[in-house]
């Protein structure tokens, strides 16, 4: 069952210019994206920088103005124009990319983690302190450190504090926007595994945004590949990695380095071959503007953006 449903989402940013500073053009950051995130799974959204994946995540969170399209969470319409806005913030939470700027440098850990609790629940000072300590223990940070400031922690620890803040309200869905790309490679795996543990423990659904296919392969059940604001392919992790259909996906997959040194030469040839195929067949897979076509179902779970032809 779909927990989150995004239907034909479009987000365009206006470009101002000219003498009167009027809107003269727009950037189509997200241009007609539809997908579902099912309860309990980890859905990964992959794409290069500027492909619109973060914009999509922020739109679900209500941080961007949506140009067109609909977002449903459970049964509520998140961006309904009429009627009062549904506040699902205690059900959807977000983990940010940069653990340095996402924590207010002048606030103590207790104030950072307790912020959502103070907004949604009325707790006494002692209860609140206990809750924050529990949350910190849960993410693997000593509960003694509640009076510390963010700059006293390492990047990985800060990201854990970010997670503690995100799970404070027992959300159902967590949007993780490149949660490890700002971290040292040595701590990335740690944080990822810990995210998976938390997910299992709390029965969470994860909406995972990343550009690193290795990370995605490790984390996700299903994957959507984004290019220039549109989805080019979507399917189960195995389908995407073992049987990519779209040339863009093929190239992405081919770009993953092979750890076995004996295969290195073979792998390089394979990559060169894919690159050539990509250049030759670009216009078979993209329309005149260089955008992907609409997604077409090829199996029950697998969708690819291929042109309408025989």
């Amino acid at each position: 069952m779909a927990l989150l449903k995004v239907d034909d989402l479009k987000i365009h940013f206006p470009i101002h210019g000219g003498i009167l500073n009027r809107k003269i053009d727009e950037v189509k950051a997200v241009d007609g994206v539809s997908f579902e995130v099912r309860e309990g799974e980890t859905y990964g959204l992959v794409g290069e920088s500027g492909s619109g994946k973060t914009t999509t995540g922020k739109a679900v969170m209500g941080l961007n103005n949506i140009t067109d399209g609909d977002i449903y969470f459970e049964d509520s319409h998140l961006n309904a124009k009429k009627g009062k806005k549904v506040d699902v913030r205690n059900d959807i939470q977000m983990i940010f990319q940069d653990p340095y700027s996402s924590l207010n440098p002048r606030k103590r850990v207790i104030d950072i983690v307790a912020e959502p609790i103070r907004n949604y629940e009325k707790l006494s000072k002692d209860e609140e302190k206990k809750r924050v300590q529990e949350l910190l223990e849960r993410v693997g940070i000593s509960s003694d450190s509640i009076m510390k400031y963010p700059h006293e922690f390492s990047g990985g620890q800060r990201q854990r504090i970010g997670v503690a803040r995100a799970i404070a309200l027992n959300p159902k869905l967590i949007i993780a926007d490149e949660p490890v790309s700002a971290l040292d490679v040595s701590v990335q795996a740690q944080v990822l595994n810990f995210l998976q543990d938390i997910q299992k423990e709390m029965d969470l659904t994860l909406f995972f945004i990343a550009h690193d296919l290795g990370v995605i392969k490790h984390m996700c059940d299903r994957i959507g590949i984004m290019y220039q604001g549109r989805l080019v392919e979507e399917g189960l992790t195995e389908e995407i990695f073992n049987n990519p259909q779209h040339i863009y996906t093929k190239r992405l997959v081919a770009a993953i380095p092979d750890v076995d040194p004996r295969n290195r030469e073979k792998h390089r040839e394979f990559r060169a071959q894919i690159k050539e195929e990509y250049q030759q067949s670009f216009y078979d897979y993209f329309n005149e503007e260089g955008l992907a076509f609409n997604l077409k179902q090829i199996t029950d779970t697998h969708k690819v953006a291929l042109p309408e032809r025989g």
């Binding site: 969170m61 506040d87 913030r89 939470q93 700027s101 996402s102 440098p105 606030k107 700059h151």
Partner: protein
Amino acid sequence: MSNQQTEKVIEQKVEKSPSGLSIFWKEILRDKLALVSLLFLVLTTIAVFGVSILLDKDEIVRVDPFAIYEPPSELFLLGTDQGGRDIFGQLIIGTRNSLSVGILVTIMSGFIGIVFGVVSGYFGGHVDNVMMRIVDFFMVLPNIMIIIVFVTIVPKYSVMTFSLVMTAFLWMGIARLIRSRALQEKELDYVQASRTLGSSHMKIIFTQVLPNIMSLIVVTMTLNLAANIGIESGLSFLGFGFPQDTPSLGTLLSYATNPTTLEQRWWIWVPAAILILVLMLAVRNVGEALKRAADARQRRAS
């Protein structure tokens, strides 16, 4: 092992982020000029407010035709003016009045400027555009003249209306400064994070953005205080400051527009001139030290 642990504890102690106040204090202790200035300011304020309680204000402003233009003597420490009024007493009360209005105007204009600036910067876009055009407009105006006009036409003129008129035309500088910092601050992820955690815009502005630009606010307000003391004494000098019967440093200086006073009766205007100068310099010294401390703090917290 235990040795290592104690070392770790010590290291943490050092790491512990020092409070804003202690950094300010350290910077001032290091900068001797600022320390002297601060001491001077504190002592002057205490002395001026203390002595002016003891002084009989009516006695000082009472015209004494038998003591006109007395040079300094034991009876009149700094002589008397054209009404036979004691200059020293007027200096004390004048300093008190100038300081009070300076502080009052700084706080009121600071308040307006901060609210205006932070709203403009935080919301950005069209709101910011319109609000900043308003600031631009008020900033180019020859505000001293406009203040003078309002001072003369305002009904029921008093110290309070004077301060309000000054405030109305002196809030733009701080608004512009605060706005540019708020603009930078709101781009940081923690503001967005707060949105996702369910905090309202107002709550984010007042509990997240404002505390983080507090050091800028303190510095700007201090420097503004120096400027406002100067503006007040300038207006009083021209005769558009304090009401007639209320002495201020500027009114003492305005006696010097009489050429004979300027040339021959130095005791009337020189002390006031020196006092204004020293006050402004002292406030500025403290402000500059605070500024350096704030920059240092900015570097540490990230």
